[in-house]
């Protein structure tokens, strides 16, 4: 095996600052930009064709929920591991925080969708006919979420940007500055998590539950948030895998990163099933007309294939794979499972939102049977591909200005961990200041 020099503080700074602006080829960004533009045109065409029939918005709503879950779920990984002082996660935090750029795409998309909603007056909703709901308050919440995510990214990357631009005056790095930075990141992270949980509630309630008369399930918002966190972690892992493979960052994204994340991924996959089962069992036992309709609509009717695929990809396969040590304690295993979860999340969001919008309409008698499955048209596909491309484009663009790994945080990790001899073996010593 070739000898690899241990990472040093100086070497890390030099290496990572040198990578700023060198990740992501120009031609790839050009293609992504064109696709994003095409998606925007697709969305404009959709809007211009008017809000009705409402079922044409199901796929767009699913695209929004998918991006909210994946991209905007990523910064929570940075916050949670920072709070738990998990050193294994030091290299992935920047990749996770960069997910905040997703908000620049989801915010306008959400606002567009809110204007397509039917009249909410007298409708079961979380707004109880409160003035401004849902359009104004949902928009405000999403804007705040996006702002908080970008603020987190801005604050966290400030010392590194000063390093990359060689402008030490931007960040002298006094003790007070570091204290404020670390405390600020925790506070911003806490706000971000709270906002994200609320936005998940607004999205699934207003773009889902309120459209399906007879659906009032208190577990759906936490389900949406938890499966969103699962997808956020999966996306982070996939991005880390890509940075490791294509960004030349193999030394930084070691086994620890993927192993640590795989344990969380396994836990979140179990939670996915737990929440799904709670919903299914309660409705199955209730057997009221509304509940039978809900089971038909979301689980065992026109979207059975989506439901089964979602459970397989979000729970059964991750569980079946990650319980094995050789898969869990590896680099490729968790990345592969993350890929499954990402696909599973997309299918799950399609199941919820396409089904919900397929029965959306004015207030009236509750339905008793689900309409046939609805398939996407060309505009749906264009908007979806465009939205995902726009997010990827913005992510790569952000990588042109900030290092792919938080240099200051990574170097703190180097300070506080050490390999030490312990009798006849060598052990890692990890120090965690209060």
């Amino acid at each position: 095996m070739a000898h690899v020099e241990p990472l040093t503080r100086a070497g890390t700074t030099h290496d990572l600052t040198g990578r700023v602006g060198r990740i992501g080829s120009g031609s790839a960004m050009l293609v992504l930009g064109i696709l994003a533009l095409a998606g925007l045109i697709g969305l404009i065409l959709k809007v211009m064709s008017g809000p009705v029939p409402l079922n044409k918005w199901g796929y767009t709503a699913a695209a929004l929920a998918f991006l909210l879950s994946t991209g905007q779920g990523m910064p929570v990984v940075a916050f949670a591991t920072r709070l738990a002082k998990g050193y294994w996660a030091l290299p992935l935090r920047r990749a996770a925080e960069l997910g905040a750029v997703t908000g620049l795409v989801t915010t306008p998309l959400f606002i567009v969708l809110l204007f397509q909603l039917p009249d909410f007056f007298g409708r079961p909703s979380i707004w109880f006919d409160w003035p401004g709901g849902p359009v104004l308050w949902d928009s405000v919440a999403m804007i705040l979420l996006t702002f908080t995510g970008l603020a987190m990214l801005f604050v966290s990357s400030r010392p590194d940007r000063a390093l990359s631009t060689q402008q030490a005056s931007d960040w002298p790095g006094t003790g007070r500055q570091w204290d404020v930075l670390t405390a600020g990141l925790v506070v911003l992270g806490a706000f971000y998590l709270m906002m994200l949980v609320f936005v998940h509630m607004y999205v699934v309630s207003d773009l889902g539950m309120s459209l399906v008369l007879g659906w009032r399930s208190a577990i759906i918002p936490p389900y949406h948030a938890v499966s969103g966190l699962q997808a956020g972690l999966a996306t982070t892992l996939l991005v880390c895998g890509a940075l490791r493979r294509f960004g030349g960052l193999r030394r930084y994204f070691g086994l620890d990163v993927f192993w640590g994340a795989s344990k969380l991924l396994l836990g979140l996959s179990l939670l996915f099933f737990y929440f799904t089962w709670s919903e299914l069992l309660t409705n199955w036992y209730g057997r009221t007309a509304d509940e039978q309709f809900l089971l038909d609509l979301f689980m065992f009717g026109p979207y059975t294939a989506l439901f089964i695929s979602s459970v397989l990809l979000n729970f059964a396969l991750p569980l079946a794979l990650l319980i094995w040590n050789p898969i869990r304690v590896s680099v490729r295993g968790p990345i592969f499972v993350a890929g499954l979860i990402l696909l599973g999340n997309l299918i799950d969001r399609l199941r919820i939102f396409v089904a919900s919008w397929s029965v959306a309409g004015p207030l009236g008698p509750h339905r008793t049977f689900a309409p046939p499955a609805q398939y996407p048209d060309a505009l749906d596909l264009l908007v979806f591909v465009g939205a995902v491309s726009a997010v990827t484009f913005l992510y790569l663009l952000a990588l042109r200005f900030v290092p792919p790994i938080a240099i200051w945080e990574f170097k703190t990790g180097l300070l506080l961990t050490a390999e030490r001899p312990y009798l006849k073996t060598e052990v890692a010593v990890v120090a965690k200041p209060q």
Binding site: L281, W284, Y285, R287, Y422, L423, K424, T425, V427
Partner: protein
């Protein structure tokens, strides 16, 4: 302490470094690694005394237990419903959702019980062979136990004492 006729010998140490030295010396003297054991009152990191990693099959036990548990769960849930076939709440006679709940508990119980049995079995407990032991180990002393040392006890004792053993126990 008289050591004639003994099969095993235990050296007591006060410092972990001495234990590592004693094991080196014993191995150098030709004692097989499988006949050398360290006795401590708390766990030390793997390989701290230069010992070989312990092999075990504990991970097999939960799977066997889970299989037994799920089978028992299936038997109970199907058996009781068929043995006393009464429709309640309009639910089918073999209702899968409640069966899953009971089978889940059975699976977990089986897995946990077999794991505990596996832990005891793989730890070689109950340990009744009567090799030398000293209660001072519970007080922080460290022991190096040489088993199957018949005929080479003086050599083993010398190696233990040279490494700094404060006492030698035989049985």
């Amino acid at each position: 302490m008289a050591i004639s006729g003994a099969q095993a010998i235990l050296g007591l140490f006060q410092e972990p470094e001495q234990v590592a030295q004693a094991l080196d010396a014993l191995r150098a003297a030709g004692f097989a690694s499988r006949d050398l054991k360290t006795l401590t009152d708390s766990p030390y990191p793997e390989g701290a005394f230069g010992e070989e990693p312990e092999k075990h099959r504990l991970f097999v036990f939960p799977f066997i237990g889970a299989a037994c548990g799920i089978a028992l769960g299936l038997l109970i849930t199907i058996g009781t419903q068929l043995a006393y076939p009464i429709v309640t709440g309009g639910k089918p006679l073999l209702s899968i959702p409640p069966m899953i709940n009971v089978m889940y508990e059975g699976t977990m119980l089986g897995a946990i019980m077999f794991t505990v049995a596996g832990i005891i079995f793989e730890s070689r407990l109950p340990y009744l062979t009567g090799t030398p032991y000293d209660p001072r180990i519970s007080e922080g002393y460290l022991g190096v136990l040489v088993t199957r040392a018949s005929g080479r006890l003086p050599e083993a004792e010398r190696a233990l004492r040279d490494a700094g053993a404060v006492d030698i126990v035989t049985k």
